[in-house]
Amino acid sequence: MAEIRLEGISKRFGAVSAVSDLSLAVDDGEFVVLLGPTGAGKTTTLRLVAGLERPDAGRISIAAIDVTRAAPAVRDVAFVFQQYSLYPHLTVFDNLAFPLRSPLRPMAESAIKARVEQVAKLLRIDDKLANSATRLSGGQMQRVAIGRALVRQPSVYLMDEPLSSLDAKLRADLRLELKHIQRDQGATMLYVTHDQIEAMTLATRIGVLEAGQLVQVGTPREVYGNPASAYVATRLGSPAINLLPRSCFPNLAMPAEAVTLGARPEHLSIRRANGNADGRISRVEHLGDQNHLHIDLGGASLVTLVDPEEPLAEGDPISVTFVDPLLFDAVGHRVRV
């Protein structure tokens, strides 16, 4: 049993409220990703759970034990930072073994060896164990940093953008590995990122943070398909959801309180117009596997996806139909139909 419970935690730094009245439960074996832009309070929340910061209010428990005032060392959490901080004078093996050699938790050297080798194999760095930690590529170093967290088998893992310093390809590979390791071990994970793809692909549930507040928690499909606000809707989806003023579409029937129409690619049906055109294609952006279509529509401009085989070109007149778009009111809250 190793669930994390945050109840009404708040943290201020001087005049800035970094986290306010945040409540969240991460169940045993769950992978929760906190998503938000810089300054939303993601990292502060993680540091509060780790014990690196102390909350001004609220209560934190790990595995049903109140740790609100406990020192980081006794919390049995492993923290992986964005910048891998390895011991440069040690080998990969000794870096991985380091947390196990802590005088607080004595362990036989043979058991340490077995554990390190098991984790190294999992992360596919078992052929690098004798290397000096500095003679590794960035991806390998980050694997060692993740490995150092895994060897300890802590109650919970806390990760702060562990993949963001890696290049795109490596990030995609490690993402898939991390997800399988977490699932196979049944580990409880609280993970922080501003990368929506990491959030969508890794999370059992996503928590979206806005200015220190948790504004929506749900599975990736719930948060993407059924966002509570325009803010949440813009956090997920690529290209980003098109937010269009209602006034551009006087002929569309919608509730009186709706002032903004949110349209993702799947909410738009686009055809070449023969006759009455609604809009015009302003640019076709070739991104290889997918093309982004830039459209001028009733005084608004929007971006959507189009199959590269689709014979649509710059300047083409088009007719556009909205299919169950999302609606938002004047303050950005969702209007449900």
Partner: protein, 363 residues
Amino acid sequence: MAEIRVQNLEKSFGSFHAVRGSTFTVEDGGFFCLLGPSGCGKTTTLRMIAGLELPTAGSISLGGEDVTFKRASSRDIAMVFQLFALYPHMTVRGNIAYPLKNIGTPRGEIRRRVEEAARILRITPLLDRPVGGLSGGDRQRVALGRAIVREPKAFMMDEPLGALDSEFRHLMCGELRALHDRLGATTVYVTHDQLEAMSMADTIAVMNNGMVEQLGPPQEIHDRPATLFVADFIGQPPMNFLPFRGPIPKGSAEIAFAGGTQAVPMLAENHPEGEYVLGIRPEHVRISDTGALRGTVYGSDYLGTNQIVTVHTTLGQVRVRLVSATPVPEGSTVGLSFVPDRISIFARSSGRALERFAGAGHG
């Protein structure tokens, strides 16, 4: 005229060969991207064009003039770096004006050019603000402003968007390309981000181990990769690679594959007995009961509009891009089929794509 010609350019640092024999031409007014993983030599190439490094061998000409060993300051090139080094104690205006003040431009002229640059970059309201409080994007616009006021022959940009959030980066790509279209100045742009390169460049040079592996327009590099490296580096997720054995006779449009046959684009040459690789992008794989290759669904990455399904087969892992509405249960057995004219075939030993019959397939 500011065409850039790079010929047989080489650079060694001690025993390390950073760049080995690059040759390419950047057309006047072109937007040229050097794309590759870290350590491939792209930044070293850019720095040699800018005059910040001297080549070990080869030549560089700028607008018809040989500048190989000329000082950076006499090349009439503006550099934009990833880390926007602005003067923190100056206003936006002071920062943008600095390069002009430095060369003694008259005050009226400075004023005109700074305001023109600010207008193009849409930062006119910020001109008299200190740079300290600006957002990352605005700071990068100021750095760009400082480059464009000089009205140089060419711009060299070294991952100028690397420090920005991914969402914002894409937005800035659109802006940079629009800016390029307005100014028409020759631009060489270094990045490891294929999306940046795909969305902005007229021509991309994909670099690996100090060499240019492929040179061409973005769509061609994506659709017709010349090597396994390029096929693997471009595309998110990358191309799937599945092994098979030849020979493949000239003019044949079929290969022996996965215990059956697979239609492929017709090849222009005879290829002997040996190991080959079938390459197919995730968007050109279909899940179908009639597919010769079968496998087990390992997992699916939900991406909103689309999902990427990973299937484990006896020949290796295959990723498939599907719309999210199609359910593909984990652990289920599925058949896979490939769009024949989208298949690339590579020789395993050389890593190079085999030549097709001219006119075979698309593009």
